[in-house]
């Protein structure tokens, strides 16, 4: 559905996309994530034919977005980052303006996305969530085969975000392929079957959210408090399978390691007859994986970070 090979784009001297390869298969929801300036938006703009690449090849729905943009665009629905509609354009007028002969029923769409009561409202009077839902309606209006959504839920409150997510799931369930650019890792985790991580215009890694977490954030952290943790317990903890580090700060004990430590630490505490009431477990999510993936390489010879009151651990 989307095949990008060796995409390169620069603005002046700044290389924004640097030899990027990307494939999106029919029926997928693919998330494009990465730090600001990673080249995500430029990539999707090239895919839509809004920017001309400096090098590389792109095929989108069988078309070249550079030379066949006119044929491509009717089959692509898009929600662009930092874009708007004319302030005084009414919701129903926006649908009339953007509709082609393949358009879905306007009333049905507005009803589906909770905008039926706002059909006579002008764009400037809509709330942030209503605007995003309207953009989604416009992106889906002409029965696109591919939908590109760039920062769809930026600035929305949690309830509005969930509403938009539900709409994206409905779109996907109806057979539409979705390419989603987002900074929200919970959004990528909730919606995307596959996530592509970009840095400095290149793909760092790609996979399902679970695969990425597994590859880049296998750790788990167990925290608990004991009034006076015995040294022998702490010693046992740091000898457990999978434990990398044990730290103590007053009564608080923190154990880091891979995910096996969750069971081992629990079992050790039971053996010692000390089952703390405040025991908590933090399992990394996609955001941790992304942070781990994007963290800069430490400079050669730089000292390792020192934890507060390190008790022990092994690498």
């Amino acid at each position: 559905m989307v095949t990008v090979r060796g995409l390169r784009k620069r603005y002046g001297e700044r290389v924004v996309v640097d030899g990027l390869d990307l494939t999106v298969a029919a029926g997928e929801i693919v998330g494009l994530v990465g730090a600001n300036g990673a080249g995500k938006t430029t990539t999707v703009e090239c895919i839509q034919g809004l920017r001309r690449p400096d090098a590389g090849s792109l095929r989108v729905l069988g078309y070249d977005p550079v030379t066949q943009a006119a044929q491509l665009r009717p089959s692509v629905g898009s929600q662009l980052q930092d874009s708007a509609l004319p302030d005084r354009l009414r919701v129903a007028e926006a649908l009339d303006l953007f509709a082609t002969s393949r358009a879905r029923d306007h009333d049905e769409l507005l009803e589906q996305f909770g905008l039926a009561a706002r059909r006579r409202s002008v764009f400037s009077s809509l709330s942030g969530g209503e605007r995003q839902r309207l953009f989604l309606v416009l992106a889906l209006l002409n029965r696109p085969r591919l939908v590109i959504l760039d920062e769809l839920t930026q600035g929305l409150d949690p309830a509005a975000r969930r509403g938009v997510w539900a709409a994206v799931r409905e779109v996907h369930a109806a057979g539409t392929t979705v390419l989603l650019v987002t900074h929200e890792m919970d959004e990528a985790e909730a919606l995307c079957g596959r996530v592509v991580v970009m840095r400095a215009g290149r793909v760092l890694d790609a996979g399902t959210p679970a695969d990425l977490v597994d590859r880049h954030a296998r750790r788990a952290t167990v925290r608990f408090s004991l009034p006076d943790p015995p040294a022998l317990l702490l010693d046992e903890l740091h000898r457990l399978d999978g434990v990398r580090h044990v730290a103590r700060a007053g009564p608080q004990v923190t154990v880091d390691g891979d995910r096996r430590i969750i069971a081992h630490v629990g079992a050790a505490l039971v053996r010692w007859g000390s089952v703390p009431e405040d025991l908590s477990v933090h399992v990394p999510d996609l955001e941790d994986a992304l942070l781990s993936l994007l963290e800069p390489e430490p400079a050669a010879g730089a000292p390792a970070a020192v934890e507060n009151e390190p008790v022990g651990g092994r690498s």
């Binding site: 662009l80 930092d82 004319p86 009339d96």
Partner: protein, 245 residues
Amino acid sequence: MNTTAGRLVWAELKLTTRDPLVLTFVFAFPVVTMLIIGGAFGTDPDPAFEGVNPAHWYVASYLTVVIAAAGLVMLPVHLASYRERGVLRRFAAAGFPRWSFAFAQLVVGLLTIVVACALLLAVAAPVYGIPAAHDWWRVAAALPLGAVAFVSLGVLLGSVLPSARSAQAVGLLIFFPSFLLGAGGPPPHVMGAAVRHVAGPLPLTLLTNAVRQPWLGLGPATGSLVAVAALAVVATLAAAYRTAL
């Protein structure tokens, strides 16, 4: 109205009627100032006005004020605002050809000018009367040529200036001196030589001469008409180049 460009023109026309800047600056401002200044000098033929009725002098002149207001203020602000807020990117992503927006602005600008000029004449008729055109075909040639020239200048400015605020600032900076020196201000005969020298080659002065002189029987103003035609061609080509028309 079912083509892409047709739908865009229709939507833009509706939006124009809701735009307070258009309503005040293109429709109200020329009418109000024409009523004030037209009445300030009376209705008796006056040598300062080349021997014609001063009110008629201003009625003939103020049609070009409408054209300049639409071209130098309304369109640049509108277009720059759309570029600044990403409206044009949204249109492009939805499959609107790049030229269609410039085309829509051209059509909307010209239609706005026609309606605003009609309003101005409708208000002037019962108050000052509308002078008969001595050389109507030159007036009929100058008005559309001037409208095309200034609308194209507006599209050009809007495609170059980075924001609505900058477009408004630059537009007003060009409009008001042009308005005072070339159309709605004092007649050239009461200006000093230096001011007349500055005012003479201004596009709005040329357009006003090309409309007013043949209308009131003050001369053919062929040079001004040719200059306006040349400006229309150059501005249209430049605007088309900038907007990939």
